[in-house]
Structure formats: C-alpha cells, structure tokens
Point group: C2
Chain length 301, copies 2
C-alpha cells in the first residue's frame, strides 16, 4: 500500500460540489462551507509503535502528540482551531489513571490553542493504543493550500529542522498556529504545508500540487541542534520529518520584508526559490546544482 | 476500564463555554456553534474482531458499517449529515483493491445520505484494521438530546429490535436520518437516542440523562424476525444491541397521533411510558411489574 497513490486514486473517485467542498482530499485540511462560513477539517491518527512508543513516552505525551499534529494541519492552512473530537482504542488492561493521563495530554495541546475537546469515543481491544483526532477551524484569511506557488517566488520555513524523533521534539512541539494565522493575514503567501514527512518530501508535495520545481540553498536550511549533532546534519534536516514547522512560498520582495521583520513567534528563513522546472534541487555555495535524492519519511511504508 | 465511568470523569474536567459548545461529551453528538450555525459532531471507531470480522464481511461492509454508525448518531440528534472524514489503520499487506473496497463501503453509506467524504488519513501497521469516521451535520430543528424526557411521556421506537449481530443487520442497516429529521421537524420529541448498546442499556442512558424512570410494555416491544428465531426473543430485543433504531419520548397524545399516522419511512411503535421513579421496569400483559435486569451490550467490556 502506498498512502500517496491511494490518495491519488481517491481524488479520481468523483468531484465534489465546489460550493459545499471547495477543497477535498489531498491538502493539510479539507475546506467545507457550512452556512456562510468556510471550515477547515482535518483528521489524524497516532499508533503505539508507529508514532510513539507508549512505554517510553507515557500516555500524556501520546495524547499531546496526536492533538498537536492536527493543530499543525490547521496551522498549515492559515487557520485557527475551533474544536476537536478524539477516539481512543485502548489495549485491554489500560488503567483508569493512564486513560486520564491520555485525556490530559489531549487537553494540554487543545487548551493551549483555545480548542475545546467536545466529544469522542473510547473502546478497548487486544491491540496497541491507537488515537485519532478530528479538528475543525476557521481560516484567518483565505485558506492557504499546497497549490498556488509560482516560479520565482521565495521558499521560506519557520524554526529549525531535523532530529525531531531523536530529540523528542515530535512529542513536545508547538503547532505553528499563531505564525500560520499571521502569515495568512499579513503576507501574500501563495502556498503552505507543514513539515511532517520531512523537508524534502513535503517540499515535493507542495511543488507537485503547484506545478513548480524548487532550488534550495544548501547553506540556508536552518539546522536544529539535534540535526547538528548527527553525522549528516543536512540529511537529517531534509529527511527526518516530524518537524511540524511551516514551509511556504511568497513573492521574493515580500519574503525579504518578512525575513527582515521577523514578526512571527518563531524565526523564519528563506531557503530557496520556486522554479519553472519540475524537479527539486540543492544549490551549494559554489553554485553547483544537485537534484535532491528522493529521501523523506513516509508514514505508510 | 469502563467507558461510561470514563465519560462521567471527563464530564467533570471543566465546563465549556455554552455559547461555543452548547452540548459537550455524553450525547450521541456534541453540539457546537460555528458562525451563527449549530453543528452536530460525532466520531466513531470500528475495529476488526470487535465490531466486524473482516475475513467474514469483507472491507466494503466494514467501511459501510463505520460510516452508517456515525450517520445514526446524527439521526439520533434529529440532524442531517453535511460531511465526513475517515481514518484507516490498515494491516500491512492489505491490498490496494481491499483498500478501494473499503473506501467504496464508506462512500456507499455517505452517498446515500448526501454526506461527502472530504478527507482522511491512511496508515499501515502490524495490527488489525481499525476505522474511524467523524461526521458533522445540521439539526433539522432544535437538536434532540438524551435529556428532556418527562414523567408521563410516551416512549417510542422505530423498526424492530434484536438479533442484529446474528442476522447481519449490523452491517447493512439504514441509519434513520429521514425519520430523525421528520420527528424533529414535526413532533414534540423531548429526548432521543439511537439503539447501539441495546434497548435496555440505551433506555437507561436516556432515563439517566433525563432524570426519569420507565415502564416498558412487554408485549409492545417490536421483535425482529431474527429475535423471534431465538430461544428468548424478548431478551434479544432488550439486550442484543446494534439495532440502530431510534428510541425517543414525546407527550402521550402526540405519540398517539404519530403511531396512528405512521409518517416515517419505518414503522414506529409506542413501547412504554416515562415515570417519575428512577428505575426501568417491564410490565407484562397481566400488569405485573418486573425491574429490568441490567442487561445490554457494552462495547468496552
């Protein structure tokens, strides 16, 4: 099974009424119209042994992570969360106090972003813990999709990248809701995605949706301390994934103003340029161009 | 773990802003306010080995069931579905054609009720298939909650009860969306729930939420053909669960008019009366009163 091929197949299974469903499967959130209002909707799952190791991190961190991942999807559309529901498939024998810790972790992430957890479903079974969250939110301005990047625009990223799994950031990260909303409200952002699969893979998603290529400046990619501690910091930043930072495009002059002003609650850097050519390449300080290896972590493989 | 005790505990973990979240955890759907509009939101999960046997029913039926269960929750609030998202945790090795059949099952249920499946998440793992759906909808009139039944009101039910697991109805049932909306729009229904845990258990939920008791007329409970085929049809109707019929209360004279008119796309019957006393009892044709045994299937045990 290939998650991405399956999503492509789904997108071929009939179109939506564009009035009711302006954006269907394949972006960070779907966009639906309810009454007069655009709503962002996203759903995520986190499983013990895949997205966290329950025995290592405990139920509070697991709950935090699944909620924070969905918050990051709302952020990646330039939206504010409005509410959440969650499901818990708990291994038989999970104690009441563990379930309560799990709930507190979900709430810890939701409460930090004024996102009430309004309902859910709890069930026991003979297999590992599996959590899902579904969130809805409101776009701060027009929803920011993966498509929309144009050749010549700047490619920017928040924060630093790499080593999230090794450092534990994937359990404690701050979803970039405030940054995403400020970008949507005040900057001419043309396309945005959050980095869950890794810079290389998620940039490829953005480029594919937009029909552009990209050149990344090798020395401009912001490396996390955890990435710097590895043998190949650049590979970590490109491929590790689970950074939950924002990757976006906007006109070059607006990017210059953004980077000079640093108005977000997290550093923002320009790392490259969208191109007309379809591939994604690294440019080293000497100007040499290397097509990016098809690295990038996939959940489904 | 006791699902119901856990939900009680959650309900003690802080109140919601009643403007934003008029109804939180503990009913068939949460009710939230988005813009000027009330939205119903529900989330459900179905696991291989718990809610269906994948090898027996196949992926299409599994997909249908999880979506139909959520549609039934929208119906139980007197609502119309507006959209859905789903997650799939698929066992490694599940084939593309199986995943496609699963998707078709989800769509088969959603499409029948004009409920577009607008997004989701697919992941592979080394454990059985686990599906979740989250639906949102709009109440046809005021949302019908579990609370609101008053002593002296009639207790009614749609369809026939019992034997759903044995007969396979639990994989093919029709969510009572049309009936739920018609009841909400045209009858003074005071409380409603769908029968998933079984008539006895779900009536107890409704009574507990409303602060009433109930007397059921033993010979008025509509028995399904599958229940009649068992050694104890009444026990099947009371305890089997997964009927996905609507159980509701309304003033006695309105119930009389409803049962005489039969305006729903499914038969509706009066089966008893809400009482001031807190217990639930069966009344036999001779007038003898027997407290109902604490039967009723629980997902979580």
């Amino acid at each position: 099974m290939d998650e991405f091929a399956f999503i492509d197949w789904i997108r071929g299974q009939g179109a939506f009424d564009p009035q009711r469903v302006p954006v269907g499967p394949g972006d960070d959130c779907a966009v639906v119209r309810v009454g007069g209002q655009l709503l962002l909707v996203t759903t995520d799952q986190c499983a013990d042994g895949v997205h966290f190791i329950l025995d290592d991190c405990g139920p509070d961190a697991a709950g935090y992570k699944v909620m924070a991942r969905s918050l990051s999807d709302i952020a990646a559309m330039g939206g504010r969360p409005l509410g959440a529901v969650a499901t818990v498939s708990a291994p038989k024998g999970m104690s009441e106090s563990q379930l309560q810790a799990l709930y507190r972790g979900l709430r810890r992430a939701g409460d930090a972003f004024d996102c009430p957890l309004v309902g859910g479903d709890v069930s026991a079974w003979s297999h590992p813990l599996l959590l899902t969250t579904t969130l809805w939110g409101a776009p701060a301005a027009a929803p920011l999709l993966r498509r929309g990047a144009r050749p010549g625009e700047a490619i920017c990223v928040t924060g630093t990248l790499g080593g999230s799994l090794a450092s534990g950031k994937h359990l404690t990260f701050t979803p970039r809701v405030a940054a995403g909303c400020l970008l949507a409200e005040r900057y001419p952002v043309s396309a945005m995605i959050d980095i869950s699969d890794g810079l290389a893979a998620d940039l490829r998603h953005l480029c594919r949706a937009s029909g552009v290529g990209a050149e990344l400046r090798r020395d401009a990619i912001p490396l996390s301390a955890a990435a710097r501690a590895t043998a190949d910091p650049l590979a970590a930043a490109l491929g590790d994934g689970e950074d939950y930072e924002l990757l976006f495009t906007l006109p070059a002059e607006a990017a210059e103003a953004l980077v000079a002003a640093q108005p977000l609650d997290v550093p923002v850097a320009r790392i490259g340029t969208a191109t007309a050519a379809g591939d994604v390449a690294l440019i080293d300080p000497a100007g040499r161009r290397t097509p990016l290896a098809h690295a990038g972590w996939r959940h489904s493989t």
